[in-house]
């Protein structure tokens, strides 16, 4: 019996690995296709798509598409802009949303249940549906900057950042996570005379690594992939983000697919780097909350 049981365990393990390998292949192959295609001339790229050669560095391989892509568009500027806008938004969002969630979970104030419900209701409203009123608002908002008082936020970095700092999903994630933290820790700190700011900073945040990672990754992906909003509010090339930059690689009739793949490979690097750096905390969060991107 013991031998049969070991065989079964081996079979189960083998089946599990087979499924995992299959899933990994499904997820990795699009990236592999993109990277390999970026090395091939258009004609070969298209003809390779009906065979496994599409995923292999075979045939006429070179970095020509990368050189052409850099010649066609200011890729460095676009990547810098996206990383800057995304980075600042993520940092501000983590701070604002975690503070809001802290207030919902730990502070006792009237109407918090109702306001939290309203906040949750915003999750079902697609961003695209509020873009037009948001655009009209952004074009009329005041600002005091280095140039003095001015009206209108269009064509700036701030119009790409500030509207996206607070969002219902991030606050919801923090609220769910904070609810599971041991209340005794908070109460003990308050009994010891700690201020709410101290509790937030020294007790709650240090215990919130997984949810911070999750919220950061989701926000990063949302911001980095922004297309419609920056398209509408930004006209200057020097503050244009990567997704709008993708338009540089199509014209009315032709698409230089090799250059498109080279551009996509380049702009995928910051996303992968960010995800991999937070991967461990993200997986811990998924395991504990069941929320994933």
């Amino acid at each position: 019996m013991a031998v049969v049981s070991a065989d079964n365990r081996g079979l189960r393990l083998g089946a599990r690995y087979a499924v995992l390998v299959l899933v990994a292949v499904i997820f990795v192959f699009p990236l592999l296709f993109m990277a390999m295609s970026s090395l091939k001339p258009d004609q070969q790229l298209l003809s390779d798509t009906d065979s496994l050669r599409a995923f292999l560095p075979v045939g006429d391989i070179s970095l020509n598409n990368y050189f052409a892509a850099f010649e066609r568009a200011p890729i460095g500027v676009f990547v810098f802009n996206s990383v800057l806008v995304t980075g600042i938004t993520v940092i501000l969002a983590l701070f604002v949303c975690s503070l809001a969630a802290f207030a919902f979970v730990f502070l006792d104030w009237s109407g918090r249940g109702f306001i939290f419900s309203v906040l949750l209701a915003t999750l079902i409203i697609p961003y695209e549906s509020i873009f037009i009123p948001l655009l009209l608002m952004a074009s009329q908002l005041p600002w005091i900057g280095t140039g003095g008082f001015e009206i209108g936020w269009l064509n700036t970095y701030r119009v790409q950042i500030i509207p996206f700092v607070a969002d219902g999903l991030s606050i919801f994630l923090f609220v769910q996570y904070f609810k599971d933290l041991p209340r005794e820790l908070i109460e003990a700190s308050r009994v010891e005379g700690a201020s709410w700011w101290f509790v937030y900073r020294k007790v709650v945040l240090p215990l919130s690594g997984p949810v911070i990672a999750t919220a950061a990754i989701l926000k990063f992906l949302f911001m980095y992939n922004q297309y419609l909003w920056p398209l509408m509010v930004v006209q200057a090339e020097e503050i244009r983000p990567v997704m709008v930059g993708l338009g540089y690689f199509t014209d009315q009739l032709n698409v230089p697919w090799g250059e498109v793949m080279a551009y996509l490979t380049i702009i995928t690097v910051p996303v992968l780097a960010f995800y991999l750096s937070l991967q461990r905390a993200f997986i811990a969060s998924v395991a504990s909350t069941g929320v994933k991107g």
Binding site: A68, L154, Q235, E237, V244, G245, G247, D251
Partner: protein
């Protein structure tokens, strides 16, 4: 004394400064990343205009074409349109109707002799003007036609429907080519109405009834349109032309590689054919399917935005651009067709005897602008889908009826688009 001199110098300097100050004009251009000479020439045009006078300074902002129309729509909504707009010819009526643009206010006598597709009119006013146009021709080799005993058509005597069908049948029967005809089905979007609606118009149909612009009934689903639809479908059923799944690489190189005998393509793709085939290259007029030969017209043009605070400056810039030397420069740089005969004479490709001269003649003789209506942007997409569906085997009458319904509903929703 010294103090007075300094004061005088400061006052003089300030007067000089104000006299020299140029008012900024913004210009939006659609060709970012186009990787051809057009963007460089637009920049050169702007630089030379700025240097040519002291009143205005044009500042250019380039957009990728994919995003350009959406960016203009958003800017119109937010009230921050630029002074000078770059606009695709068939889109212009929509922007004029939506109050994105104002009439150019240019003396129309200056536009005399221009190719018809380069002047954008809406409601009797000129709203935009182009520095170039484009034309489509049936590209082939003389030796191919000779081999199968096919007459070389001319502008005065183009192929009839029967002649054209006969030529396709002969070439197909030879088995020498994968397909006798390449229509460019791999290209999507504006190519369909630009390249194929003239064929429908030659049959006697149209995307919309141009007498009122209020309905597509009878124009897109009348007897002539049905005849066109049946003929269009037969091209794919008889394997005369590759369908919507055509390989994009074949579209680009199929004629040169000998896969196709004839290719329905634009002047922008003509030079490689001349280089490959030399004197054997032929650019033939569109067949006459009963109502005259027709090809599409109108490319990108310049106009003035409705909320420009300096229309006189924008007008000055556009008038500066309307010179033969710029038409010739753009033509030489991009391969597109110059606007006037005198400019054509100064180009390397369109001069009398030049390799692409025929395209200037085609543009002048056969060009028909796409429907001049704000609803065109919807009608073009409906037309594209209908033609793709028919090519893929959909019932012709049902498909055209559905297209008519969709176009008419859109016109109704928009209260007739001001017609």
């Amino acid at each position: 004394m010294k103090r007075n001199l300094i004061l005088a110098a400061v006052i003089a300097g300030s007067f000089t400064g104000s006299a020299m100050a140029q008012t900024e004009l913004s210009l939006w251009y659609h060709g970012a990343g186009s990787a051809n000479a057009e963007e460089a020439l637009v920049n050169q045009l702007v630089e030379e205009f700025n240097a040519s006078q002291s009143d205005w300074k044009v500042v250019i902002e380039t957009f990728p074409q994919l995003a350009y129309n959406d960016a203009v729509g958003a800017a119109a909504l937010a009230g921050n349109l630029p002074d000078i707009l770059d606009v695709d010819g068939p889109i212009m009526p929509n922007w004029a109707w939506a109050n994105y643009m104002q009439p150019l206010g240019i003396d129309e006598a200056k536009l005399e002799g221009y190719l018809p597709g380069t002047i954008g009119r809406w409601n009797g006013d000129v709203y935009s003007v182009g520095l170039w146009d484009a034309a489509v021709a049936l590209t082939t080799r003389k030796s191919t036609l000779d081999k199968y005993g096919i007459r070389v058509p001319t502008l005065d005597e183009p192929w009839s429907l029967d002649e054209f069908n006969g030529a396709l049948e002969k070439i197909a029967a030879s088995g020498d080519f994968e397909y006798p005809l390449d229509l460019g089905m791999a290209w999507k979007g504006e190519w369909y109405p630009y390249a194929f609606s003239p064929l429908l118009q030659s049959f006697g149909g149209d995307i919309i009834d141009r007498s009122t612009y209020k309905t597509a009934e009878g124009a897109l689903n009348g007897d002539e349109a049905l005849a066109f639809g049946e003929w269009w479908q037969s091209l794919f059923e008889n394997k005369f032309a590759p369908g919507t799944s055509q390989d994009a690489a074949d579209r680009d190189n199929g004629l040169l590689e000998g896969k196709y005998a004839l290719s329905w393509n634009g002047n922008w793709a003509a030079l490689p054919v001349v280089e490959a085939f030399g004197d054997d290259a032929l650019f033939l007029p569109a067949p006459d399917f009963g109502n005259g030969s027709k090809i599409g017209a109108a490319s990108w043009q310049f106009g003035i935005s409705a909320n420009s605070e300096h229309p006189e400056g924008a007008r000055a810039f556009i008038e500066f651009a309307l010179q033969d030397r710029w038409f010739s420069a753009f033509s030489d740089g991009t391969g597109l067709i110059p606007v006037t005969a005198s400019a054509a004479a100064g180009t390397k490709n369109y001069n009398p005897g030049g390799p692409l001269e025929v395209f200037y003649d085609l543009s002048k003789a056969q060009a028909l602008v796409r429907p001049v209506t704000p609803g065109y942007i919807v009608q073009a997409k409906v037309f594209e889908k209908a033609l793709a569906d028919i090519a893929n085997g959909a019932d012709v009458a049902d498909t055209l009826d559905a297209a008519v319904d969709e176009i008419n509903e859109d016109i109704e929703r928009n209260s007739g688009y001001g017609h």
